[in-house]
């Protein structure tokens, strides 16, 4: 299993990185949509009262800018603190969701620290990586188990949870729970984890206790699976928020938006409603007054 897992680690990281880039490009190459922003818009200088540049007379002629840092802070507070879940979720999901997310972040961070330790021979950071690893598996196990119980126990949540959603949570729980079992059963857990990662990095796998190897194997499988699942929302979220809810770019003649829209207006429609003439481009379609009368 050792050498298989070592190769799998490389494969998992490679697939993960490739898929993130691939899907990012795919999302980015979708057509530019109509504006559909939502206020308060954190990038807006007037965001403290939910305002926008459209509060000004003659706004088209005035300069406008975004405060990027506010956007980054807002996004970060969602990613790292799960602010909206904390404020608004009435089913008490926040502590579990928070722990589960931090379990994943720290698990990844732990893996990176172990790689760094090996590559740069930085034994000095071992105490840090041990703490990160310990917190990751405890928080992750607590969070994912809690979320499973919430979803099973609360009818409003259960009704909307498909088996695949439970599968995802159990997948996560498996990473963290095997980690805890490995820690409990192996007095040299952190050193074995270190040895495992060192073996994977150098492609010279060493034999480590079963539970340690299993935990990393599941984690590797998870990395492979994640970009194909809904858990990919950490990338998608950038688009839902930054590219849709925060997109307030005004269309000015000759701008990049204008060029893109002009080309999209040449797309042809096939809608079958009686007020639409199928086969015409958007530009042609807007000229039609009443398709029912053939005008």
């Amino acid at each position: 299993m050792g050498s298989f897992a070592a190769y799998l680690a490389w494969l998992a990281v490679a697939v993960f990185v490739f898929m993130v880039i691939y899907r990012f490009i795919k999302f980015n190459s979708m057509p530019l949509h109509l504006r559909w922003e939502l206020y308060p818009l954190p990038l807006e200088p007037k965001h403290h009262h939910g305002g926008s540049y459209m509060e000004e007379v003659d706004y088209v002629r005035k300069p406008r800018h975004h405060i990027r840092i506010n956007g980054i802070l807002d996004m970060a507070s969602e990613v790292f603190l799960l602010k909206k879940v904390k404020e608004y979720n009435k089913y008490g999901m926040w502590p579990f969701s928070f722990c589960m997310h931090w379990g994943i972040y720290l698990m990844c961070f732990w893996a990176v620290l172990l790689v760094v330790e090996e590559v740069f021979n930085w034994g000095a950071i071992s105490p840090l990586s041990n703490v990160v690893g310990a917190v990751a598996i405890i928080a992750g196990a607590f969070g994912s188990l809690g979320l499973i119980l919430k979803r099973v126990g609360i009818a409003e949540l259960a009704a909307y949870t498909a088996p695949v959603d439970y599968f995802n949570l159990f997948f996560l729980l498996a990473i963290f729970a095997t980690g805890i079992i490995a820690w409990v059963t192996d007095p040299y857990f952190f050193d074995d984890a270190r040895a495992y990662v060192a073996g994977a990095v150098t492609l010279q796998p060493v034999t480590v206790p079963f539970w340690v190897a299993l935990q990393f194997l599941i984690f590797e499988l998870f990395l492979l699976y994640m970009p194909f699942s809904k858990l990919f929302h950490y990338v998608a979220k950038y688009f839902t928020i930054d590219k849709v809810l925060w997109d307030d770019i005004l269309n000015v003649k000759g701008s990049a938006v204008d060029k893109k829209i002009t080309s999209q207006l040449s797309y042809k429609l096939t809608w079958a409603g009686p007020h639409i003439v199928p086969g015409k481009t958007w530009v042609e379609e807007v000229e039609i007054v009443d398709a029912r009368e053939g005008k």
């Binding site: 949509h33 007379v57 879940v85 409003e156 007020h275």
Partner: protein, 538 residues
């Protein structure tokens, strides 16, 4: 505890409504002891039309009479659903919809934001996620490899039969598209967009929509000139009436400019104002005249009616109307279009249509603005003298979702009210966190079947509660014989008018409603009589 209704119940093959509404479940209205009861669904409707969602309907889809008709509905529904994700057919919202479809984590954080869900006593079918999840599961089942291979495991488990289709058509019209839910979603998922695209599917693929929105709305707007049915000559008569009425009200003659070439501003009102609330366009005329603004109305078909009902359900109609508006402004040589007090029309033209207006029609060529900043500018500039003591009665403000949450126009109307209404107080919550009036997304104009009951009892209920709370210390009609709910939006006013009537808030408490411009004119020093008629509710 099992829920009253499940996601898969949407396909239930009988006439029984998925939920039954009950007065006991609805949220309280403080200070109101009595209200009209919920009337049961008339049998004549049940026999003929699809009423099996909640016993209400606004579209009135006749029950299919043959297997062919049933199959037609199913086939067209599925082909429409597929087109929503086709780049050419639906570039307008494809990316946004794709993201909202794929990345909801079912945390249900959004639900408690929804006025309809809350007002109904948390009826399952009004949960923002209910319709989204149904649609998502259908999509998975019929259009994705994982749905075909793994079925229930990935949640691909909702059957499409004609009941699913007709119930979904109605369910798409139990959301006012206020987007309050989207504000709370940690993923940025927008259930309102999903509801809107569901409606688009029906409108663009099947021609199914409430008659007031498509047939008598967009189609008539383009063909006759206005969704009200007003032709260009009817419009000119309406303007003559406004001029006479202004004379009667303020004792001064004002000539309303129509088709004035080279005017700086083309002002476009929701044409419903000319018929229902002429004092609103009159007040604009008085203010613009007194402030020395260069402006005009347009008499060309479509150009005198700002409404754009495509915003709620139809991208093609949205584009057709918006392009007409801008072309008319260009032909008159106007530098910019200002949309009157109508939220959806403002959002449609200023924001959403920005990306169907390319090249010569883009914003740098013809500017497009909300009227509220201009109204505040009139006050701020000192061009007109106002005496706030003329508005010395309790005033509260409703924030139209389309101008506020969807456009970020929050402050100008507040600054204006603070300057001209000494007893102004906010509702709670307000601004971008406001609740919808209950008439969003076309409900204000839908009078078909028993839909007005749904709108009054569920849709507008939260707004009525907020209104009663805002005036809670002044409800006594003797001590406080006039209170004003300021709603600077034509559709909001329509809903509020009906809801105030339904709950008897004028008769019981003397709560009236109206726009912002009426209050401004009422406070003008140069006008020696009240512009607002204190005894009049209409």
């Amino acid at each position: 505890m099992a829920l009253e209704v499940s996601i898969r119940d949407i396909a239930r093959p009988n006439d029984d409504p998925l939920v039954s509404l009950s007065m006991r479940d609805l949220i309280d209205l403080p200070g109101l002891d009595e209200e009209p009861p919920l009337e049961p669904t008339p049998k004549k409707f049940i026999d003929k039309y699809e009423m099996s969602l909640d016993g209400h309907c606004c579209i009135g889809i006749p029950k299919p009479k043959s297997k062919e008709e049933e199959d037609f509905l199913v086939r067209r529904f599925l082909s429409g659903l597929e087109k929503l994700f086709n780049s050419e057919d639906s570039w307008t919202f494809k990316q946004a919809l794709r993201l909202s479809f794929d990345y909801c984590v079912k945390c249900q954080t959004c639900n408690e934001a929804c006025h309809a869900y809350l007002a109904s006593g948390r009826k399952e079918i009004y949960r923002p996620t209910y319709r989204s999840e149904i649609l998502r599961r259908i999509w998975k089942k019929y259009f994705t490899p994982e749905g075909k291979l793994l079925g229930k495991f990935v949640g691909a488990d909702v059957d499409v039969n004609w009941r699913t289709v007709t119930r979904l058509a109605e369910l798409g019209h139990r959301c006012t598209l206020c987007r309050r839910c989207a504000q709370r979603c940690p993923m940025g998922v927008d259930n309102a967009l999903i509801a809107r695209e569901l409606r688009k599917l029906f409108s663009q693929e099947l021609g199914i929509a409430p008659i007031e929105i498509l047939e008598k709305g967009c189609v008539q707007h383009l063909r006759v000139g206005s969704s009200t049915g007003m032709s260009p000559s009817g419009f000119k008569e309406a303007v003559e009436f406004l001029e006479e009425d202004i004379g009667d009200r303020i004792g001064k003659k004002i000539k309303i400019p129509v088709d004035k070439k080279g005017a700086e501003i083309l002002l476009i009102h929701n044409a419903g104002e000319f018929l229902s609330w002429p004092e609103n366009p009159e007040a604009f005329a008085i203010l613009f005249e007194a402030a020395g603004i260069s402006w005009t109305l347009a008499s060309e078909a479509v150009g005198y009616d700002a409404v754009n009902y495509g915003l709620w359900n139809d991208d093609v109609e949205l584009a057709r109307v918006a392009v007409r508006h801008v072309k008319i402004a260009k032909s008159l040589g106007c530098r910019k279009i200002v949309v009157g007090e109508c939220g959806h029309a403002t959002k449609a033209l200023v924001v959403i249509a920005d990306r169907v207006l390319a090249g010569e029609l883009s914003s740098s060529e013809v500017e497009r603005e909300c009227c509220l900043p201009l109204l505040w500018e009139i006050i701020r500039s000192g061009a007109i003298k106002f005496d706030p003591s003329k508005n010395n009665f309790p005033v509260t403000l409703h924030d139209p979702c389309n101008m506020v949450r969807a456009m970020g126009v929050v402050k100008p109307q507040r600054l204006a009210l603070k300057a001209i209404a000494p007893q102004f107080r906010e509702m709670a919550p307000n601004g971008v966190y406001n609740y919808c009036c209950g008439g969003g997304s076309g409900y204000a104009i839908i009078q078909s079947f028993n839909f007005p009951q749904w709108r009054n009892k569920i849709g507008a209920r939260m707004k009525m509660r907020q209104t009663l709370e805002a005036f809670k210390n002044e409800l006594d009609p003797v001590k406080y014989p006039f209170k004003y709910l300021c709603a600077p939006c034509s559709n909001c006013k329509g809903t509020i008018r009906d809801a105030i009537t339904h709950y008897g808030l004028w008769d019981k408490f003397r709560i009236n409603y109206g726009g912002l411009v009426e209050l401004m004119v009422n406070a003008m020093v140069d006008i020696d009589r009240p512009f607002i008629e204190y005894e009049d509710f209409h």
